[in-house]
Amino acid sequence: MIEADSLVRRFGDVVAVDRLSLTVDRGEVYGFLGPNGAGKSTTVRILCTLLAPTEGTARVAGFDVVDQASEVRVRIGVALQESALDGKQTGRELLDLQARLYGLRGATLQRRLDAVIGLADIGNAIDRQIGTYSGGMRRRLDLAAALVHDPQILFLDEPTTGLDPPTRTKVWAEVRRLQREHGATIFLTTQYLEEADALCDRVAIVDQGTLAIEGTPSELKRRVGRDLVVVELAGDTTGATTGATAGATDAVADLAGVDDVRITDRTLVVATANGAGLVGPVAVRLAEKAFDVASLTVRTPTLDDVFLEATGHRLRDDGTITEEVTR
């Protein structure tokens, strides 16, 4: 349903999207995960026909996003970041305008308005000016506006950024419902690892305009290793990660069964096929080398670990990333 082939988008000297290729299948929820400035929104804007690529091509629903933009536009629904809506219109007026711009008329128009007003679920506020809405209400209205013409392909650019957890959960439920009941294909950008993990059939991690890694969440996690031994180092927290922690990586790297070792701040993460078996040897080795261990646990990998593996950074919830992590 969505195919991008070597997309490049430059703004002056800045390369926002760099030879990015991807394919999204019908009915799939595809997560585009990355930090702020990774090129997520630029990619969405190209796929939604709002921005022409500098190089490369993209097809949505089988139509070229540049040469057949009109054909693409009637087939997609788009909710862009920050829910930019005109505060002087009421919710109903905004939905009505959006529906008319999609060429809906008469009974069809009314039926779709009723459907999406029910979906927005903001009660009487639908007849109040949007300027009076809360962030969550705006987001729901924005999503309703994106669905007014019942599109089969949806682009949601950071649909939950800035929302409180209960509202975020509601948006997730809505995305799942759209996929399940309508078979919609959903392209979703996010900076939240848990969101990508919870919602997406496949996840692409995008870093500096390129696709770092792509796969189902479980595939991606398997790539990191089956188990992770996580060691929190105690002691002098003012010291940088340099001397002390680099030593910790070396200390355990040659143990039998260790697939990979990484460290961020004071957290040492050891990837292995057998976590339970490796906890003892890691503890002993660190004690021998006089490292002060605050805690030691075994867990399965998360998308956070995948992100680290793919990009060398950790992704924070505010969409920023940590400094490059020592391997």
Partner: protein, 262 residues
């Protein structure tokens, strides 16, 4: 691959109507907008007449109250537009929300301009009403009054291209608000305050090149002289000439905004 869809392009006229409906609504919801648009022309009308009437009417044949009505109109209608709304659409991203629909791009601007027509025509009517109350009468009668309103509105429309161009090029509300400053040289290097015959050398020379001079001459002749085809044609040509330039600026700004520079 070809997915069935409810949506289709609504067509040019329907798009203009949809956008115009929203623009008119926004106008209706900002009645405070009318305040300054009416205050300034009325203020200057009263001040100009109070200070200059006696001097100006020493020139034979000048009825200064009538002479100043076109100036008040030009003050009222020049530079008012829904560009103030459009620039917020650009800045806040609502324009993108409309651009992802199959709406005809030119309809986005033309729909706004429909609301502008309503606004400038209303302002013209109110200013002319003020003139009538002050005792001004039209030599050309009711039909002349109507032609007067249409030319004044056409001028107001012609000038809207500038704030729209600024809105689309900059996306900056402050820049749009300042764009009416462009109008000052147009208004002041002209026969706004005294007839051209009474103007001194350099200003008279500049006024001869200023389209506002021909606009004012045409409007004045409808009030004070009668049906003078040359004057009326001059006024229409002035509005049309400005419109060609400013609409070109506005629509080329729209094109570059919606295409997204590659």
């Amino acid at each position: 691959m070809n997915t069935p869809t409810l949506a289709r392009p609504a067509g040019f006229a329907a798009d203009v109507a949809s956008i115009a409906r929203r623009a008119l609504r926004s106008l209706w919801r900002e009645p405070e907008f009318l305040g300054p648009a009416l205050f300034f022309p009325m203020f200057f009308y009263v001040i100009n007449i109070g200070s200059l009437q006696d001097v100006a009417e020493r020139i034979p044949g000048v009825d200064y109250k009538a002479f100043q009505v076109p100036v008040a109109i030009v003050f009222a209608v020049t530079g008012v537009s829904r560009a103030t709304v459009l620039v917020l659409d650009v800045q806040q991203g609502y324009l993108d929300k409309m651009l992802v629909t199959p709406v005809r791009r030119t309809a986005l601007l033309l729909g706004m301009m429909v609301a502008d027509i309503v606004l400038v025509f209303t302002l013209s009517v109110l200013v002319v009403a003020m003139g009538l109350i002050a005792g001004v009468r039209f030599e050309t009668g009711v039909l002349g009054l109507l032609v007067f309103l249409l030319i004044a509105s056409a001028w107001g429309m012609a000038f809207t291209g500038i704030p729209y161009a600024v809105a689309l090029r900059t996306g900056n509300p402050a820049a749009v608000n300042s764009s009416f400053l462009l109008f000052f040289p147009f208004l002041f290097f002209t026969s706004a305050f005294v007839p051209r015959e009474a103007m001194t050398g350099w200003l008279g020379g500049l006024a001869a090149w200023n389209p506002v001079t021909y606009l004012l001459d045409g409007l004045r002749s409808l009030i004070s002289v009668g049906w003078e085809p040359g004057d009326i044609f001059g006024a229409i040509a002035a509005a049309a000439g400005i419109a060609v330039v400013t609409f070109w600026l506005a629509f080329s700004a729209l094109r570059s905004r919606v295409a997204g520079p590659a």
